[in-house]
């Protein structure tokens, strides 16, 4: 409560920023920096769910989920330009919900199953896409697929194009990379280091065309094929 009062008083002081002694060009930056610090401080104190909100879960019945009013998390800082945050509870999960659904829509369920098997075999995966949010969320979703196991090796949600030679790493990894357009995907696939890595266990998830290019490593394809045979 005391923190909240302090925050409110600080906010009021920020809103009445009329310090005429500030230098001309720096005024804008100072005001922005002060407001930014105030907002970040508010994030630390207010932008979190309380225990009762954390306990909210989806009802078992879909009908009940539609009919009953949804609880929402609301935070309003009363700052101009800062819209009130209002999200339904339980909070939407970006990686495990949006990312997994994007993977399923992209490479279909059979592709996701193969990916999961490759991850369990600790083989490297390179996710290629056009947008950063798409690539990073899908790369993060791969970790979610492994639950309850944990990925114990390297994870790079966004690998810069200049560092593509990292694919030659002998350590298994999950990485994502961005391409400018769909034609550039072929440049990555035809890259010498990528082709070499593909013969050593690297698989590529192409989110642009929705294709999964499985590694050409000896033994892995055989293991994947055997895993489809029912016991």
């Amino acid at each position: 409560m005391k923190d909240r009062d302090e925050l409110l008083s600080r906010r009021r002081s920020l809103l009445c920023n009329e310090d005429a002694n500030l230098p001309r060009e720096d005024t804008k930056h100072v005001v922005i920096a002060q407001k930014r610090h105030a907002v970040l401080a508010a994030f630390q104190t207010s932008l979190m769910l309380d225990p009762s909100q954390k306990r909210v879960s989806y009802p078992r019945s879909e009908l009940a989920h539609i009919q009953t009013p949804h609880r929402r998390f609301v935070m309003d800082l009363s700052l101009r330009g800062f819209d009130a945050i209002s999200l339904p509870l339980p909070l939407p999960l970006i990686s495990s919900e949006w990312g997994v659904s994007r993977l399923l829509l992209g490479i279909k369920d059979s592709g996701v199953m193969i990916l999961l098997k490759l991850l369990l075999l600790e083989r490297s995966i390179l996710v290629v896409g056009l947008r950063t949010e798409e690539v990073t969320s899908c790369a993060t979703a791969l970790l979610e697929l492994l639950n309850p196991y944990k990925w114990a090796s390297a994870f790079m949600p966004l690998l810069p194009r200049e560092m593509l030679d990292f694919v030659s790493s002998p350590v298994p990894f999950i990485a994502g990379t961005i391409v400018e357009n769909s034609k550039r995907v072929q440049d990555i696939v035809r890259d010498t280091s990528v082709r070499e890595a593909m013969s050593n266990g690297l698989s590529i998830v192409n989110l642009v065309t929705g294709k999964l290019i499985v590694t050409r490593e000896k033994g892995t394809s055989e293991m994947l094929r055997r895993s489809f045979i029912p016991m």
Binding site: L22, T27, I32, R80, G81, L91, A139
Partner: protein, 240 residues
């Protein structure tokens, strides 16, 4: 001003982050990268600096072209003289001046230019040697004889469409240059140490923070455009 607001509404990149430490444990974070136009005195300084560099580069290009032209003229003159010396010794003399003129205009090697000239004029080698007699007043050893490399001859002429497009592109470049330069800044807002379940919440907050800062910047720019001497932001503009 329109351009400014147009640019402000351009896209931003959203990134989900996870960091792996040496122990293999993951920590989460979110990041939003935005691209904005830099305004104010800093932008003016940078633009002035870029303009100065552009002028210097143009000056360098002009000087280097002039120097290259002079050097190529000099080399051509030397090679023409050496060639004419050899021709004189083998009683196949021709006019150095006309040969040089031909080679310059047709942009081919001196030998080819001379062969063409001979075939076009229809002069016999004897006639040519008689017309050229006494024009060489220097002696150069034949071992120093050199022939310039044949220049590339573009057999396919440039089409009218290509010329038109090139003209339009060049005109567009000149028009854009009149508008001046802008500085684009790439800013990344990163929050680390978040939990996986609260990522959507943090994303919303971060996006709102970016929107708020944009609003402050836009408001300040508008106020400065209306009142150039303004150096504070009126509180009624920022208050809700």
């Amino acid at each position: 001003m329109f351009h400014f607001f147009l640019f402000q509404s351009q896209r931003s990149c959203t990134i989900l982050l996870k960091f792996t430490d040496v122990h293999g444990s993951l920590s989460h974070g979110v990041a939003i990268t935005i691209f904005e136009e830099l305004t104010g005195s800093h932008a003016q300084k940078i633009c002035r600096f870029l303009d100065l560099h552009r002028h210097r580069r143009r000056a360098r290009v002009v000087i280097s072209r002039w120097l290259n032209a002079k050097l190529s003229d000099f080399r051509r003159a030397i090679s023409t003289r050496t060639l004419s010396t050899r021709l004189a010794s083998s009683s196949k003399r021709t006019s150095t001046a006309s040969l040089e003129k031909r080679s310059n205009s047709m942009n081919v090697s001196i030998r080819e230019a001379m062969e063409r000239m001979i075939s076009k004029t229809g002069m016999s080698s004897r006639e040519m040697s008689s017309s050229h007699s006494g024009s060489t007043d220097f002696e150069i050893d034949e071992t120093t004889f050199e022939i310039t490399e044949p220049a590339p001859v573009y057999s396919s002429p440039i089409s009218k469409d290509a010329r038109r497009l090139g003209r339009e592109a060049y005109q567009a470049m000149i028009d854009v240059e009149d508008d001046g330069d802008i500085c684009i800044v790439e800013k990344s807002y990163v929050i680390t140490g978040t939990s996986l379940q609260d990522q959507s919440l943090i994303f919303c907050g971060l996006q709102n923070l970016i929107n708020m800062e944009r609003l402050v910047r836009n408001t300040y720019s508008i106020c400065r455009s209306l009142v150039p001497s303004l150096h504070i932001i009126p509180h009624f503009v920022l208050a809700r």
